[in-house]
């Protein structure tokens, strides 16, 4: 009986690994739906992300691919030079969305070892994380000092044709950093608007996103809409968690304060 149990465990483990091998690009690090226990979820400002057995990193000038087949020995497979001003990386299905200081670049990782650029969406020079779902990419643009020209906005980009991203709308913001699509609604995006705090926008009419919530008093940098309506917000004052059951009215659960 004990032996049978052992065999079952081995068998189950084997099946698990086999299924992992088959779908290298399926473990989307930014969805909560699967692999909750094995794969994590980062924010939109992240420069590291894992898809299946591959770790992708961006630094200020390149995209790197590491193979994690031997988890203790990541192997650098590929360095893709991207110029300068590379900032963030966000995985969505078989694509990587790379936020840069002059636009969004979309890479196909159907072959996970060799990311291939499928398109790019250019904008004025600014700092810009990007997130995406199947229909839209959302990028925030944060300008610098007033002397450098000051564009601060949310760009909503149609990516239904991934080879031809098209701007649908630009919504004015004050000092935007990270953003996150709500876990429980396809029509809601949370935006960290720097010193202006956290905002939520209803994007059911993508041509005219509507601000539906504004939480002031925080220097908000990044956000993770987690499962169970838990909203995690990273600020310069600390890391806050909110009950977002009603996204129009967040209730603070806790804060890990900066000391």
């Amino acid at each position: 009986m004990k032996n049978l149990r052992n065999y079952t465990i081995v068998l189950v483990t084997l099946v698990f690994f086999a299924s992992c091998e088959k779908e290298p690009a399926q473990g989307n690090a930014n969805t909560n739906s699967m692999n909750q226990a094995t794969l994590g979820e980062g924010g939109s400002m992240a420069q590291f992300t894992i898809l299946g057995n591959y770790l992708y990193t961006v630094d200020y000038k390149s995209l790197k691919v590491f193979h994690l087949a031997d988890p203790a020995n990541p192997e650098l497979l590929e360095t893709v030079n991207l110029g300068v001003g590379i900032e963030t990386i966000f995985p969505q299905n078989d694509h990587l969305f790379i936020g840069t200081q002059n636009g969004v670049r979309i890479y196909d990782v159907t072959n996970p070892r060799q990311p291939e650029q499928v398109s790019r969406f250019d904008h004025v020079t600014s700092c810009d994380p990007v997130v995406a779902n199947d229909e839209y990419a959302l990028a925030t643009l944060r300008g610098g000092t007033p002397c450098n020209g000051n564009v601060n906005q949310l760009d909503l980009i149609d990516i239904s044709d991934i080879t031809n991203p098209t701007l649908i709308s630009s919504t004015e913001l004050l000092n935007p950093y990270g953003l996150g699509l709500a876990e429980n609604s396809t029509d809601l995006v949370y935006i960290c608007d720097g010193y202006a705090g956290v905002k939520a926008f209803d994007i059911s009419n993508p041509e005219m996103p509507e601000q539906v919530m504004h939480l002031e008093g925080l220097d908000a940098i990044d956000v993770i809409p987690d499962t169970d309506n838990n909203l995690i917000v990273l600020t310069r004052q600390g890391v806050y968690q909110y009950d977002a059951t009603n996204p129009l009215e967040l209730t603070q659960k806790s804060v890990i304060s900066v000391e």
């Binding site: 473990g27 690090a29 909750q36 226990a37 094995t38 794969l39 994590g40 979820e41 980062g42 924010g43 400002m45 992240a46 420069q47 590291f48 992300t49 894992i50 770790l55 990193t57 630094d59 200020y60 000038k61 390149s62 790197k64 590491f66 994690l68 988890p71 203790a72 020995n73 990541p74 650098l76 900032e87 020079t125 600014s126 700092c127 300008g143 610098g144 000092t145 002397c147 450098n148 940098i221 990044d222 993770i224 987690d226 838990n230 995690i232 990273l234 600020t235 310069r236 600390g238 890391v239 968690q241 659960k253 806790s254 890990i256 304060s257 900066v258 000391e259």
Partner: protein, 173 residues
Amino acid sequence: MKNLKRTTAVVCSMLLLVACGKEKKQESVEGYKPIYADGADLKQVSVAAEEALENPGRVYVYGEYLLINDQAKGIHIYDNTNPSSPVEVSFIAIPGNLDFSVSNGMLYADNITDMVVVDITNPASPDYVNRIEDVFPLQQFPDEFGAFECVDPSKGIVVGWEKTTLSNPECFK
């Protein structure tokens, strides 16, 4: 009268321009200053039970755990089973660390120009596993636009940037 108005306008514009030019030189401005690695062993990865959060840079959810990068210092791990009271279970000190990701109990993090691998299968007792050397470039300027404190190589390696108030900054991006 019309002339007077015009003269006033011209003088005002000149004053404005002068003021703007001077602002850069004489007034305090918001900007970024380098975080230097302090010459200690930059490849030393160590584990503590807890550590004060100073300068959070990234958040990351891993199962019931919340991980927070403390810019250029390392990674805090909190048991977040109850988000109303997260409890720190360990802190992994990684000099220069700014980002990381986790898969199957392994944490992959930058350590200046290296990548380190830390086993967090037991988040309360992280275990250093491996180091891949020289895979990341050094960045000697901030991500943000605007003024920054010029890098002084004699102070060590720049491992990050923090927001601050600068007086008379000489470097701009």
